[in-house]
Amino acid sequence: MSAEFIKRFRDDRKYFAIVIFILFLIFISGIVTPILLENKKDKWDEQLSDKILNIETSVNSIFEKREAHLLSVSENLRGDLRRVLIEPAATYGSLIRLINSQKYSAYSIEVLAPNGKLIAWNDNIAVKQEDLLPLSYPAGEAHFYRSDLVTYLTVTDTLLVENDQFYYLISSPIEKHYTFQNNYYKNVSFTQELSNKFFTQFHIDYNPFASPSRDGRKYSFDLLNNKSNKIGTVTFLKPSLEYSLNSLKTEAAQIQSILAVLLIFFIGLGFRREFQSLKFRLLKFFIFIIYCAIFRAITYFSGFPTNMFSNHLADPSYFSSTFGGGFVRSPVEFFITVIFLLLIAVKGFSYSLNYLESPDSSRRFKYLKFILIIPLIILFFLTLRGLNASIRSIIFDSTLRYFKEPELIPSLPALAMNLNTLIFSLSVILMLAIYVLLIISFLRITSSKKAKLYFTILFIAFEIFGILSLHLQNTPLITPVLSLVIIAVLFLLVYQICFSDARIRIYNYVYAMLAASVISITLMNYFNLELERESLKTTALEINRSNDNLLKFLLSETLSNVAKSEELKQSFFLRHSNYDAEAFILWAGSSLQKESLNSSVTILDKNLKQTGRFSVGIDDELKYLSGLIDKTDTLQVVQVNPDSTKEKILLIGLVPITERGIVLGYVSAAINENILNVEGDNFPEFLESKKNIINSVIDPEQLKIFEFSNNKLSQVYGDIYPSLDQIKPIINSDFSMDNEAWIYLSLNGENYLTYALKSTVDGQQKITSVSVLEKNLSWNLFNFFKIFIIHSIFILLLFILIFISQIKKFKYSFRTQLLIAFILISVIPVIVLAIYNRQLVKEKTQSAILEELRNQTDVVENHFKAQINNEAERDLDKIFKHTAREVGISFSVYEGTTQIFNSKEEYYKNGLFNDKLDPEAYYQMDYLNYREFLDKEKIDNYSYNTFFKRVDLLNRHLIISVNDAFNKIRLTYSVVDVDVFLFGIYSFAAILIIIISTLLANRISLPIRRLTKATGSIAHGDFNVEINNDQKGELKDLLDGFNLMTRELQKNQIELAELERENAWKEMAKQVAHEIKNPLTPMKLAVQQLIISYKDKNKNFDKMFSKISSTLLTQIESLNQIATEFSRFARMPNYKMEEIDLLPVINDTANLFLDENVEINVKAELDSAAVESDKVQLRRLFINFIRNSIQAHSSKIDITVSKMESSAQILISDNGTGIPKKYQGKIFESNFTTKEKGMGLGLKLAKRFIESTNGSVELVESSEKGTTFRIIIPLLKNKTEKEV
């Protein structure tokens, strides 16, 4: 019974066993989940204690690992330092290089001499010099050190070198107390790491004296160091039952969703055999589409795999569209959808090609097909519009700015979206190609002798239809030129598909991908231009968004959050708090940074005296604080008009910081907003928020913004101050219902597209206009290459994948050798050139930066010297301050290693930047006496260049430094811009080189391949082969010689055959004579004996007569036997019967004609067709039929092998001139031929051979449009054929 049951799950049916198992698992998970939930509820108290204990143990373990790692690095450092300090040849440079090496770049290292002086340090100084000694913790003991902005895990240790005790500190950041919302910020937070890991709120007090929380909802424990001393306290919110239950439910749902996806997958596998046995391609295709649609729907509704992703790929902000009910709601969902779409497109494409190649395709439903052409054309243009709309959505419904990605290889979401766009475009391009191929087939263009001419006519017709269809659309998405380009690229692809070599058809997918890439980038570029136009509107909206209501909200929100800050309250109790750092922490964590607003945060003591401050783009707002002093007990926000106008808004607020009702101090915050902050000019790049509303689409430098109040120009952004005539078109614009207008402005002889938005603020009419110059071609080329670099990687990957899949068929042929040689010769120089040019550009860029910073330093130095000469009473400090105010360049001045002045002192006072001289600069300028030095420095992920120069002022040796973090340097082209052009052009060139090399290798090796094939044909007995010779030079001579040789061989073969036949006849005659003679002699003797007996009247005559008659009859019988034997010998050739597979025989035979001017399509509906026959005779038979077709001027021959009852049916159809009706009955007769040189034996012999194998051959039909023969050969019964 069980054996019977198991038998049911053989072959594809085995997948149903998996399906049943998955169903069982789903059922079980449905039952088990509620039980687990109930169990969790019942035993929660017990589990909670375990969970808390588990969290405590895990946190300790995580911390111990981190601590152990730091101690191990410290040990390594000790060894390295000892080596450097002991080595006689070691220099100070070796020490600086060691601690600034990549190996220690993640740590802050400080080395102190035995006298306690700091002698070496690296870029990140953690511990302030005044806190270094005396050591707060014993040597070798890990502890926390809180700097102004960061808490470090630190180890201090000693190092004995020749009786001198050196000290060194190594620190690793563990908690940053400030946060930015931008791409440069590198988050380091042990608290956040734990909160995310254990799904509960953590708080860590990095203080050995911290006390545990008294809140019953929280749990606290001590954090111990490597010497088991308390160095901090960890407090966390006890896990909640509700969250645990929800987590369990989510996990169960995720498991069920994976099971559901697996279920549908295995159901599909289980029905594979049934699917494959379906005869109608169209039906199969529709079933495949339905299966894919169901599969996709189940993955979508089960949340698989989106729920498994918690990164950017599942973030709808990168791309989401409501199209298809949310099937493309994030990059990962879009990816899954396009994969299914691609599967459908590839299947459809493959079915279409099979259909087009099948012999019946051009014969059935001729008129219906002709009618179908029109819907196909309409479908083509609707699909094309769908492609345009989708690419538009990819640009518009995404925050990704594909053409403005800062790096050559974009971020993961942009990379994923580029891949999605390419796959989607490829799918649509394949669909469009299917429509065109079907139309070509229905019009029977490729089977025509003027195929290429008709193809060109069809192409022109489509171009005209494209333009017509755009005119017919109410809202065309693209321009006629774009339509022309897209259709041209598409027809190039279709041409390649129609007229390419059948064996390399798989590479058509590479061509299709290339076409998809070109079309999709062209469309992306076009819609990006549209988006840029649209961004003018967004910019105007953004300027108008920042109204006083919003600013008031942001200020109130900032101050109310500040009032709750426990850290700020604690700082009021500490003696040496750095309030500048506290102000910066408050500002960085507020909406003021998030919105990149000109703003400030000021900390005041309880007497309203300033103690700390951080500001960007705002200076003297505190003078308006007097308006708030009257009511200091609550949060207040007021609006003031600094210039007594309504254009500039200044909002200032104040909030008291209280603890148990006692005022500890105050915090004031202010915002100053106007359109001049569009670019965020006041913001250093590392502080700018990632919001980048305007930056994200268009370069703000290109914008010209004008604001009008009551039709009078009130504010201008940009380098053009327009005249009255120039702004008239804006004021007189015809504003729509939405109070907006689009116009063209002529400014300085150039055309600017302008968006104007009208609004009313406090009774005043306000117009905001934003203009941008029209784009030029080079910019568009930049955009094209920017995306093409990414696409080319995917195209090359596909090429490599196809190449690997075809590796079994790979031959190291003459063509392959040529191809490899071409590619090597052309691609290697391209790569070398690309690398060289990139290096060159990098160096040029670096020297341009150096030059610019040097110029700025010179300006600063000259200004110093001018003041020394002209203003003798000024001391250096005054000189520095004057210079900072007057030259508009940010700079620092050092004396020794100490910073004595900085024009951006707020960034140094709060601890964001080190005020110690860069160690490399110190070494280069102080030890090696260089006058100038350029160094690359970093703050989080932001890199900048700093230029140092030694100067002597008033007999003091100073160092001036200028960096590009505070002094923005505008380069004509950045390294990334040049990379895009270089690698874009080179990758495009590489792909073109590969294509051209392939074509050239094909062309050059063509005569050799023809020669090889022809030689093979001759070896198989086909002497009718002749190579078309359109070559020149030696190749012409070679091919002519070959053709001559073939003709001679053929002639000799005929003569030889005749000679052989003659000899055979002679031999046979001899044999016959010999064999006949044998019985004739006894017969003659017997008859002579009988005559003698008769004449002698022998009395035994009767007896003798009877005996002799018997002898004669025996001999006559013998003669008869001999005659029969010879007859049989003459009739039956000696066939070598064996079991063979028909399909390889037919394919091999067809391959012999690959280089003939005929297209032979072999199509088999069977995997194999085993028959008993003579392989050589069978091959000869097919050669005969194919040669007959070629001689009947056929351009296409279709050979179809199918199963008919228990036999194999082979249909051979051609499109030749056909057999005239009067001859159709005679073709299988001996000596019948219509050819000049024919013997009339071919078909007769073929028929005789096939009939000898119990098969049959017949003429199915023949007309002037072609001929079809049917051959039936019995299949071997014991063999099971697998149907496709």
């Binding site: 969250y243 902000s317 989401s320 052409i373 609707l382 017919l472 909206l541 209501n549 909200f553 929100e557």
Partner: protein
């Protein structure tokens, strides 16, 4: 197949295509087209409609209440009906910037799903002027952690009705 035959076929297909396309594409009228057709008429009655807009100002409060209900019920469908073509979103999960209505739908849906609302309400609603706004508090639970944020909602008159131009939750 001769040249003339193919040419005739192509001409026949072209005419048929034009005839069928005219009806096919004209049925596929874009809403903006209808809008632009209506725009001419609307401009003529600009003054009259301005008065209507002033009346619509009164509807702003009503719309803010609808938005409040939608957020309270986690009803993204109702909320999305009030989104502008470009809505500025600033949310605690790092979302910040202008989003198309398509994107805003899913961005807000994701936010409301992951930052599960515990309590929500507006404590100030101002419907006067060109930019009606509301401010309030949004208390949430995110991955087992509770948090509290301030919410700022701003509307803009888009010609026909009030739409959300900004949602800031900090």
């Amino acid at each position: 197949m001769n040249f003339l035959g193919v040419l005739l076929k192509i001409i026949l297909v072209t005419f048929s295509f034009i005839l069928i396309s005219i009806s096919a594409f004209s049925q596929n009228k874009h809403p903006e087209y209808k809008e632009s057709k209506e725009r001419g008429v609307q401009l003529r009655t600009f003054q009259k409609q301005r008065e209507e807009f002033n009346k619509q100002n009164e509807r702003a409060g009503e719309i803010i209440n609808q938005i409040k209900t939608a957020i309270s019920k986690n009803d993204i469908e109702s909320l999305s009906a009030h989104l502008s073509a470009q809505t500025y979103l600033n949310l605690p999960n790092g979302i910040s910037g202008y989003y198309s209505s398509n994107q805003a739908y899913f961005v807000l849906e994701d936010f409301l799903k992951t930052y599960r609302m515990i309590s929500f309400g507006f404590n100030e609603i101002n419907t006067s002027g060109n930019n009606p706004f509301a401010t309030g508090n949004y208390d949430y639970e995110f991955k087992g952690k509770r948090g509290s944020a301030h919410i700022y909602l701003q509307l803009r008159n888009s010609g026909k009705s009030w739409t959300i131009t900004q949602i800031t939750i900090n």
